[in-house]
């Protein structure tokens, strides 16, 4: 008998059980597919970011003047040259960044008024020469050395639509819009925009800038592109349109080969302390930039999370396929027994079941690669919608899929090998003994008869059947449980996200749903006409002055000995020494009539100290009554802004689940050298007017740079959450599909296994629906126990997930939200598919041929 003979037989075996084979192959496929898809996507996302940053020459160090400080063009670069640091850099670019108001109403296809706060960012003279290899080549000769730039371009832009700047724009005032913003408003690739009320300016394209792969509003809202526009232009254009003359406020650098950003930073810190001793200068390494850091940790967390999820899914699928493979191999035992009794050699004996197993596994792996590609593609296109990138990798990840295929093929196949090996080694007699009569436990079966709940014998069958094959039953529990735990966790995370939004909404809009934050372009005296004019507007019911600054909470240094000496020794702050949290610190009157954070714990307006979010306090390990070091800007007598570190007491914690929100009494503005000053007003419109309407009125007031309704921040949060739930949805769908497949598979097996019992029942006149009922209850029990295991596992997974979130969600105080509905959902997701799957067998059961089924003598 040649191989052809065995393969023909195997093919017939497979065909006879085609649905089970297909179901098993699909289970393997979903396990390997999610594993492959998730991991391939993770690799691709990381590489896409790395290459995007590289393509756009993202800076390695940013030297920024503190808010409100500017210097003449060439000063910053000059300081660098003077200190002899040009050796350490490849490219250097001075730039001007300013908050502006944007009006793109004329370009908006909806003919809406699109008037939003935004950021005007200069890009270097060389910037236009990237993103195009032909021009890249010409850059080496055509490189411009100007007062503001040296070496190669830094932080260039990439055109998603339209174009970037080129020589053809020389002498013209043209700008480019941030792609996110343009996309959010459906703007055409070129058109007109009004920047800061300075007349119409032409924009020539929609671009991506490495500092703005995610759009973060000053209020801290992520994915804020709808309400926060970034616009790019050559330096001269930005200077002209913002009225800053020839001044700049930032210098960005790329390091020379062999120089680390930390080295460059340390050197620059020393150099600038000498050149600009009074001005506050902030040095930020590229990898420490908030957006870049957020993205990087988001990638890592997502990857870690998806890794766990894919392992659980793979595990669930593996348990199920183990189970099915075991069963299929058992069904071949008898045939092997006969062949053995007929004197066939063991080697030949093993061929058929092994070929059978191998073909199923192979089929599973092939489907798995297809499913993996589909999942990877879905994740990538979802990701591209959230974070469009200049470089998007989508190549096939052979290594990942080889790994996935390895697991997907080997696991089920090994089970087959073990089962077959055991069968081949046993005596033919044992194989011939009807398997359906024997029980797989060694303990004997008297304990089985204790499974005797219910009055009718029929009612006892389900539990009895499950108990008869304990290994198989437990494996099934585990596979259903694994998938349910994923489902449970995903839905709970979604709920927790929703809770953050709801709580934010409740806290931020408490008592003043139409509250708007009106920001001034400068610090004004509270008594000044600029502030008074707004308070006196007829659209304004009440207003309260706010002094809002960016500050950084500094983590504990206790472990590093005396902090002062530590700083002295290191010649600056050691980033690794403690955790830093950037916050928007609002100084306000705690007794004002507009809004105030509802603190937990007592709060005396006169006391100096901070009101922090619970998340910030937890992350820094501080409690109410303790103290926290804060790095904050401070204005000197001369009017120049510097940076200072001050130790503040922590007065109370507020209930807003956003980490970046911190508050202090405005009476203490003197700490910033800004006593009696404010740079914003929290304004409530007269009744009947919405925050959006008030925003429009406010933006037409001279001196007001921004006007943000707090409802917008809540909307941004909601948007962020809904985008984040895209991945959750994909995972949930896979989990539900796995439950369905497991349900179908166990039903298929059960139906085949109990065909004879069912025929006997029919012979005694038991109606189909009651027979079906027995199977449904049996399956439902598996679903129920799986769901119970799943909720337990899901709760653990949820704890883990929330404990490790960072990146976009690090600023959110996400609490596990275990609502009853999640439990109900988990139970339904476990029980419904399993209990209802037998319905699909209804017709098959009705058409069961009784005489031949009953005739078989095992």
């Amino acid at each position: 008998m040649g191989l052809g003979f065995w393969l023909r037989w195997t093919r017939r075996d497979m065909w006879a059980r085609k649905w089970q084979v297909l179901g098993l192959a699909l289970l393997i496929a979903f396990g390997t597919g999610s594993f492959g898809g998730f991991n391939a996507f993770g690799e691709q996302r990381q590489e896409s970011f790395d290459e995007s940053y590289a393509l756009l020459h993202a800076h390695d160090l940013r030297i920024a003047l503190v808010e409100g400080a500017f210097v003449e063009t060439g000063t910053l670069l000059g300081a660098l040259r003077e200190a002899g640091l040009m050796e350490m850099v490849t490219g250097a670019e001075e730039r001007l960044i300013a908050s502006v108001q944007l009006d793109v109403s004329s370009a908006s296809p909806a003919e809406d008024t699109v008037l939003v706060p935004g950021l005007f960012v200069s890009v270097g003279a060389n910037a236009g020469f990237t993103g195009n290899s032909a021009r890249d080549g010409s850059r080496s000769d055509g490189r411009m050395e100007t007062a503001a730039s040296a070496g190669t371009a830094v932080d260039t832009v990439h055109a998603k639509r339209g174009r970037t700047f080129g020589p053809e724009d020389a002498g013209e005032r043209v700008v480019a819009l941030d792609f996110h913003f343009a996309e959010a408003h459906d703007l055409p690739s070129a058109g007109e925009i009004i920047i800061g009320g300075e007349g119409r300016t032409r924009y020539v394209g929609q671009v991506l800038h490495p500092d703005h792969f995610w759009i973060v509003a000053p209020s801290g809202g992520m994915l804020a592109q709808e309400d926060y526009g970034v616009v790019f232009a050559p330096l001269e254009t930005v200077q002209a349109l913002t009225g800053r003359g020839s001044r700049v406020n930032e210098l960005v650098l790329t390091t020379a080969p062999g120089v680390s950003s930390a080295e460059l930073k340390a050197a620059a810190e020393v150099a600038f302390a000498a050149v600009l001793p009074e001005t506050g200068v902030i040095f930020t390494r590229g990898e420490d930039e908030t957006v870049r850091e957020s993205i990087q940790s988001d990638i890592e967390d997502d990857q870690q999370f998806l890794n766990i999820v894919s392992f659980i899914l793979l595990g669930g699928a593996a348990f199920a396929s183990l189970n099915l493979m075991r069963r299929m191999m058992q069904m071949q035992r008898k045939q092997m027994g006969i062949a053995m009794a007929l004197g066939l050699r063991r080697r030949s004996l093993a061929i058929r079941p092994l070929a059978f197993a191998a073909l199923i596994s192979l089929l599973g792996v092939i489907f798995g690669i297809i499913i993996g590609l589909v999942i990877g593609d879905a994740l990538a296109s979802f990701d591209e919608a959230v974070e469009p990138l200049p470089v998007r990798k989508s190549d096939f990840r052979l290594n990942v899929f080889v790994q996935a295929a390895f697991f997907g093929f080997l696991l089920p196949f090994l089970v087959a090998v073990v089962t077959v090996r055991r069968a081949v080694r046993s005596r033919p007699l044992d194989l011939l003994r009807p398997r359906h009569l024997t029980v797989t436990t060694r303990r004997g079966d008297s304990w089985l008869s204790h499974f005797a709940w219910g009055h009718s014998v029929l009612g006892r069958m389900p539990a009895r059947n499950l108990a008869r094959a304990p290994v198989r039953t437990v494996l099934t529990f585990l596979s259903v449980g694994a998938a349910i735990s994923i489902l449970f966790c995903m839905v709970s995370v979604g709920d927790a996200f929703g809770l953050v939004v709801d709580e934010s909404e409740q806290e931020l809009l408490r008592g003043a749903p139409a509250r708007v934050r009106a920001g001034f372009s400068d610090f004004e005296l509270v008594e000044s006409s600029a502030l008074q004019a707004v308070t006196a507007m007829e659209e304004v019911e009440k207003a309260t002055p706010i002094l809002s600054i960016s500050a950084t909470l500094l983590g504990d240094f206790e472990d590093f000995g005396d902090r002062e000496s530590d700083l002295v020794e290191k010649g600056g702050r050691n980033r690794e020494a403690g955790k830093e949290i950037d916050v928007a610190l609002d100084f306000l009157d705690f007794e004002n009539e507009v809004w105030q954070p509802l603190p937990r714990g007592s709060l005396d307006g006169a006391e100096l100290g901070l009101v922090l979010s619970e998340k910030a306090a937890k992350d820094l390990g501080i409690k109410v009554g303790g103290t926290v070091w804060v790095r904050h800007p401070v204005r000197a007598e001369s009017g120049i802004f510097g940076l200072m570190e001050t130790e503040f007491p922590v007065l109370a914690l507020h209930d807003i689940p956003l980490r970046q929100m911190a508050f202090a009494g405005i009476a203490h503005a003197g700490f910033l050298g800004l006593a009696g000053h404010a740079n914003a007003l929290d304004v409530v419109p007269v009744s009947g007017m919405s925050g959006d309407e008030l925003q429009r009125h406010l933006l037409s007031v001279p001196g007001i740079a921004t006007a943000d309704p707090f409802s917008t921040l809540v909307d941004q949060l909601r948007e962020t959450m809904s985008l984040m739930s895209g991945t959750l949805t994909i995972i949930t769908v896979v989990a539900v599909l796995i439950v369905f497949l497991v349900a179908l598979n166990i039903t298929g097996i059960r139906m085949e296994e109990h065909r004879r019992d069912h025929a006997t029942m029919f012979a005694f006149g038991l109606p189909v629906r009651r027979v079906l009922g027995v199977v449904m209850i049996e399956n439902g029990m598996i679903g129920l126990i799986g769901a119970i295991l799943g909720t337990g596992g899901g709760a653990l997974l949820l704890q883990y997930t929330l404990a490790t979130t960072s990146g976009a969600s690090a600023d959110l105080d996400i609490q596990p939200a275990l609502s009853l509905s999640v439990f109900v959902l988990a139970v339904l997701a476990g029980v419904l598919p399993t209990a209802l799957a037998p319905f699909l067998s209804f017709y098959k059961l009705r058409r069961l041929v009784l005489p031949s089924t009953l005739r078989i003598v095992e």
Partner: protein, 243 residues
């Protein structure tokens, strides 16, 4: 009670026509004890299946009691099997997940409450199952699972299950096939007693010796009834049977 008219059952596999039953005419009275005799493959099981509505004849009509089986719909067929006939299968077909007692209890309960009442007594399914098992001398093996019983014991459980249904027609396919002489005799006595109590009993065997205890013997050959009447070799009381 049972009337078959020109019943034919054919199977066709790859143009190869197999006739399991050929124009069978048969009438059995209520309470009659009929033995169906014949060599392997002559159509005995098929005959029982047709009477028990497990199989439909290719041609001909089957009438049992007031029921015209050939014209019944599916629901009526189930009801008929539940209320009118019960089987002892050639291959037992016990439920492996149920104990001996529970297997028999299944038979006692399958007909529903209505029939329990009719049987008087008002006994529970479990009590009646216990009794049936006592009757086949398995009162001490109630809690054993089928795979813990010998072939003969399994067969007796199958017989007890059929008895427990208390249907008017009992169809037994080789009920003594796995049994030793003494046990076989007691089982046959049991079936005879059932017939005496009014149950119509059809028993299949290929053993001509056993057939001698019957009122009436049907000899089948190649799907046809060749003889029909009292045993040709003369009737014997069960106690004098030898095989």
């Amino acid at each position: 009670m049972i009337e078959l008219h020109a019943v034919t059952k054919r199977y066709e596999i790859d143009h190869n026509r197999i006739t399991a039953l050929e124009k069978v005419d048969l009438a059995v009275e209520t309470g009659e004890f009929v033995v169906v005799l014949g060599p392997s493959g002559c159509g005995k099981t098929t005959l029982l299946n047709v009477i028990g509505a497990l199989d439909t004849p290719t041609e001909g009509t089957v009438r049992v009691g007031d029921h015209e089986i050939s014209s019944m719909n599916n629901a009526e067929l189930f009801a008929y099997r539940r209320s009118t006939v019960s089987f002892v299968f050639q291959s037992f077909n016990l439920f492996p997940a149920l104990t001996a007692l529970e297997n028999v209890q299944f038979g006692a309960e399958v007909g529903g409450r209505k029939r329990w009442k009719r049987s008087g007594g008002g006994k529970s399914g479990e009590e009646r199952a216990r009794e049936a098992l006592e009757q086949v001398s398995l009162g001490d093996r109630l809690r054993h699972f089928p795979h813990e019983l010998s072939g003969g014991e399994q067969q007796r459980v199958a017989i007890a299950r059929a008895l427990a249904t208390e249907t008017p027609v009992l169809l037994a396919d080789e009920p003594t096939g796995e049994l030793d002489y003494r046990t076989g005799v007691s089982i046959l006595e049991l079936l005879l007693a059932q017939a005496a109590a009014g149950t119509t009993v059809l028993t299949v065997t290929h053993n001509a010796e056993i057939a001698r205890i019957a009122d009436r013997v049907l000899s089948l050959s190649n799907g046809r009834i060749v003889t029909d009447g009292p045993p040709t070799t003369g009737r014997l009381p069960v106690t004098e049977l030898r095989w």
